[in-house]
Subunit: 268 residues, 2 copies
C-alpha cells in the first residue's frame, strides 16, 4: 500500500482504524477524527501487567487508564468495538530490554498470547477543551510538539516501575489561568487539572528553553503564565526504564483512535 | 480486651486504626473520624489480583480503587501511613471458596505473602456531601442501613469477575435532585454521579420495599424522587461469586479508616 496524506478531519474513529489496518493511513493522528478520544498504547507481558496497572492506579494524573485488554485479547471491546490492536495503530515501536528494535505498521509478527495492552489517556482530549476555552496552543495541528520536561516530582512506585513525573508545559494568558484549571479538571481521565502553575524551578525544571522531549515555545506576551500538566510520556518512560524483555508502544504522535467522544470522559 | 462504645466523632483516622489494632475499637465506623475517607477492603490471592484490578478499572462507579497494596504488603503507604491491614479494621470476614468461615478482629493468622489488598471507595464520603447539600438520609448515624438492590445493569466482566451492578437507593426531594447530581459528581473516586434517576423498574428493580441488602425506606413526601448510585457491594458480590480459594473482607459497616480527607477525593 502507498501511504498518502488524506483529509482526516471528517473521518470517524473506525475510519482511522480501518485505514491504518489496510495501510492507507500512515501519518500522525493529531487532528484526525476530531472530538474522538485517542490513546497512548503500551503492550507488556502479563507477568508485568499487575504491577504496571497498580503503577497507573497510584499515578492517575500521568497514567490515566482508558481500557486494559487482558492477556492475548486483541479487541478493545469497550472503547473501540471491532478494533484489532495488532494493526489499527498507524505506526508502532517495538522495544527489547529497553532498546528500540523495530518501527512497524503492524505487530502481528510480534503478537503473543501473554501480551496485555494498556490504552492510556492522551492530551488531545484536554487540549480541545483548552482551545475551546480561549487558550492558544501554537503547536496544535502543526508538525511541532508540546514541550515536555522531567521534573523532581516523583511518581508513587509499584514493583519495578517508578521514577520522575514528566510534564507538559503551556503558556496561558493570566486571565485564562482559572478557566484552564476548570476546563481540564473536567477530564481526570486524560491528565485532569494541572500539577503546577508558575515558576518552573519549583518542580525542578531549570531551563524552559531546553525541553527533554518536544519543542520549546516562547510566551506570546509578558502576561503569560507557565502551567504544567502530567504527561502520558511518564508511564512509557517508566516502563522502558525497567527494561522489559518485550514492550510494544505506538510511535509518538501515531495514536490509537477509539470510538469514545471527548465528552464521554468529562466528569461534570 | 473489652470492646466499649466510645465517642468516635473526635477521633482521627489513625486513632481509629490504633484502637482497632489494640481491640478497644470494635464497633461500626459510621460517623467515626468525620470527613475522613473510609474504605471497603477486599483481600485476594495474587493470581486473581490482575483480573480483579482490571474489573475495577472497567467498572469505576461501583469499584472505585483508593489504593492497592501489592502482594504481601501490609501498610497502606499512600492513604494511611503506619497502618497494618492485618489488624486495623475493627472486624473482618474470612471466606473460603465463597463460604464465610470466620469473623475475626485480626487476620494475622490468615496472612500470606501472596495476598493483595484492595481498598475501595465507600459511600460515606459522598453521603457527607449529600447531607451538606440538604438531602436527608434517615439511616445516617443510626444502626440501620441504606437500601441496596441488584439491578439489570451488567458490569463489564474481566476474567472470572462479572455480574449485575448493585445500587444504593435514596429518596431526594425534587428540588434537590440537580444539586444531588452535582454534589456527588465531584467525587468520582467514591461512586460519583448517580446511575439512574426515577422509575426503579427501568433498571430491573421490581419492589423498592424488598431490598436485596440493607433496609427499605419510605419517602418523606410525595415530591421525593428515587435516585440510584453504584454500590461498593458490587465488587465484593462479584468476587465472592467467583468462589476464590481465600478472600478476606471487612465486616459490613466496619470499614478501614484512612488519613485522607473527603475533599482530597474531589475533582473540582
Amino acid at each position: 500500500m502507498i501511504a498518502t496524506t488524506m483529509d482526516t478531519t471528517t473521518m470517524s474513529g473506525k475510519d482511522v482504524r480501518m485505514a491504518s489496518r489496510s495501510g492507507e493511513f500512515a501519518q500522525p493522528t493529531s487532528g484526525a477524527a476530531p472530538d474522538i478520544v485517542q490513546t497512548n498504547v503500551a503492550i507488556l507481558p502479563k507477568d508485568l501487567a499487575f504491577e504496571f496497572l497498580v503503577f497507573c492506579q497510584r499515578n492517575p494524573k500521568p497514567c490515566p487508564v482508558i481500557e486494559v485488554l487482558e492477556a492475548g485479547q486483541t479487541e478493545a471491546v469497550l472503547s473501540a468495538p471491532g478494533s484489532d490492536i495488532r494493526s489499527d495503530v498507524p505506526q508502532y515501536r517495538v522495544y527489547r530490554h529497553g532498546e528500540l528494535v523495530d518501527e512497524p505498521s503492524d505487530i502481528s509478527d510480534y503478537w503473543r498470547g501473554d501480551l496485555v495492552t494498556f490504552l492510556l489517556g492522551c492530551s488531545f482530549t484536554f487540549e480541545h477543551a483548552l482551545i475551546r476555552n480561549g487558550v492558544h496552543l501554537p503547536y496544535y495541528g502543526t508538525d511541532k510538539n508540546v514541550a515536555m520536561y522531567k521534573t523532581n516530582i516523583m511518581t508513587a512506585a509499584a514493583g519495578p516501575f517508578g521514577g520522575p513525573m514528566v510534564v507538559t508545559h503551556r503558556w496561558v494568558p493570566r486571565e485564562r489561568v482559572v478557566r484552564a484549571v476548570q476546563a481540564t479538571s473536567r477530564f481526570p481521565a486524560v491528565h485532569g487539572a494541572p500539577v503546577h502553575i508558575g515558576d518552573p524551578a519549583e518542580i525542578g525544571i531549570e531551563d524552559l528553553s531546553k525541553p527533554d522531549f518536544g519543542d520549546a515555545w516562547d510566551p506570546q506576551s509578558d502576561d503569560d503564565v507557565s502551567m504544567f500538566w502530567a504527561c502520558g510520556v511518564t508511564p512509557q518512560a517508566v516502563a522502558m526504564a525497567s527494561k522489559p524483555e518485550l514492550m510494544i508502544t505506538h510511535s509518538p504522535g501515531y495514536m490509537f483512535v477509539t470510538d469514545m467522544h471527548d465528552e464521554d470522559l468529562a466528569v461534570m
